[in-house]
């Protein structure tokens, strides 16, 4: 599991690749910390290369939404695959994030 954060204009893009499961979540939570401190940015959680997400991964996405949202950021989830789409739907997270 790899997380790369890039800044592009007013956007902070977190590119996830691999499987965001429980063992990977500890490192990923550490990797996304810069997003939690962002102010007035558009944060894109780019899932183009994310294969799988577990509950621990959902919690990380949720913490980004809560913390960064509190600092005036807009959080988007980008390009999820069919499996992750299903997870978002089943858990009601589909109502929680802007997904494109």
């Amino acid at each position: 599991m790899k997380t790369i954060i890039e800044e592009k204009g007013n956007q902070l893009i977190a590119k996830f690749s691999g499987r965001l499961d429980t063992p990977a979540a500890v490192q990923t939570a550490e990797d996304v910390k810069p997003l939690l401190e962002a102010k007035d940015k558009e944060i894109v959680l780019d899932c183009t290369e994310l294969e799988y997400i577990s509950s621990s991964g959902l919690r990380i996405f949720l913490s980004v939404r809560k913390e960064a949202g509190a600092h005036g950021c807009k959080v988007k989830v980008h390009n999820i695959n069919a499996d992750i789409r299903q997870v978002f739907m089943m858990t009601g997270f589909v109502s929680l994030f802007e997904i494109d």
Partner: protein, 348 residues
């Protein structure tokens, strides 16, 4: 300027740090008290009179003052409220916070004759414990503030005495704004009463008497109508429930033809078991132990759409309504349709 006024100015210069300290204390006290009573205001501001302004005042009526302590507005604070009722509310709050000098305080709202209009504000001369100097607290509504500011601007610019006709027109505006202030207060009171009545109806279950709109749906959500379904769904995987706002479902229920909260309640009760079955089918084979509080109402809407023949397109419109239009909604709708078909049948 005479010697007496010079002495007052000298005292002013020496005491400036004290006024600055008092200003910080007053602003902190007022801000904390407003937060405590949960009252929103349009402005909370203060200023210390400049030396130039004080000199002007002393030049005009310096002999009136024995010492700097007699000039009550060296420090001035002002709270501008949304509503007239709030002026009295904050006045009562100020009476608890500061010692009020009633001899020098004045309610300008009460000074007008029955047939006259003009400057309206409540001026309290206050003392902060531990300080020898008083300060002035002005309380007024946003509209009173607008009138006072414009009136000041006109008077300041003209440099000549304003003819009676113009003064009359300016004061007439104060009358109009007073009427508007009263009307805004009345509207607020009526809306508060309406919300209270709706909440009572919601709590007493007389939902057919309540029209469905943003306010009433908010009251309905306060009685947490989806909690029992969400708890049942959470129990499938012993999941935690993350609270999310559900207001966006108002437009979905409206699109479903619900006119009253009673209509919403009937949909909820009729479809909650199917909504649970859908969730059990989806989550039962996973170890997902986190759900959002939207999952119950989301599944109710899905099974309603499918049971009333809405099909994939109906689901797409639903996801468009709650997520905004985007390319993923089509795929989410297709996937949901396939899953629901397995559980519900619905002759799909």
């Amino acid at each position: 300027m005479d010697l007496h006024s010079e002495l007052i100015l000298e005292e002013y210069r020496a005491q400036l740090p004290v006024f600055e300290q008092m200003q910080t204390e007053v602003m902190r006290t007022l801000r904390e008290a407003l937060d405590r009573i949960g009252l929103r205001v349009t402005a909370l501001e203060s200023r210390i009179k400049t030396e130039q302004s004080l000199s002007g005042k002393l030049a005009l009526k310096g002999s009136k003052y024995q010492s700097l302590r007699d000039i009550t507005d060296i420090l001035g604070a002002r709270i501008v409220t949304f509503y007239t009722d709030d002026v009295d509310h904050i006045a009562a709050m100020a009476e608890q916070l500061f010692e009020i000098d009633w001899n020098n305080s004045v309610d300008k709202r009460m000074l007008h004759q029955l047939d006259s209009f003009g400057y309206n504000s409540l001026h309290y001369i206050c003392r902060v414990p531990g300080y020898d100097y008083p300060f002035e607290l002005q309380l007024r509504t946003t509209l009173q503030h607008a009138w006072a500011s414009i009136n000041h601007d006109i008077g300041y610019k003209s440099g000549v005495e304003i003819p009676r006709e113009y003064m009359r027109r300016i004061n007439r505006m104060a009358g109009i704004l007073e009427m508007a202030d009263d009307e805004f207060s009345r509207i607020r009171t009526e809306i508060t009463d309406y919300r209270r009545r709706v909440q009572q109806l919601v709590q007493s279950g007389k939902l057919d008497d309540v029209q469905l709109d943003g306010d009433t749906f908010g009251s309905y959500l306060e009685v947490r109508p989806f909690d029992s379904l969400n708890r049942r769904i959470a129990a499938i995987n012993q999941a935690e429930i993350q609270e999310v706002p559900l207001n966006r479902y108002l437009r979905v229920f409206k699109a479903m033809g619900c006119k009253t909260l009673g209509d919403v309640e009937r949909v909820v009760r009729q479809y909650e078991n199917d909504a649970y079955r859908l969730a059990r089918h989806q989550l039962g084979n996973t170890d997902l132990d986190i759900i959002s509080s939207a999952v119950g109402v989301q599944n109710i809407c899905i099974v309603w759409i499918l049971s009333t023949g809405g099909g994939k397109l109906g689901l797409k419109h639903f996801f468009d309504a709650i997520n905004g239009h985007n390319t993923q909604n089509d795929a989410i709708a297709k996937m949901t349709y396939e899953q629901a078909k397995k559980v519900m049948g619905y002759g799909l």
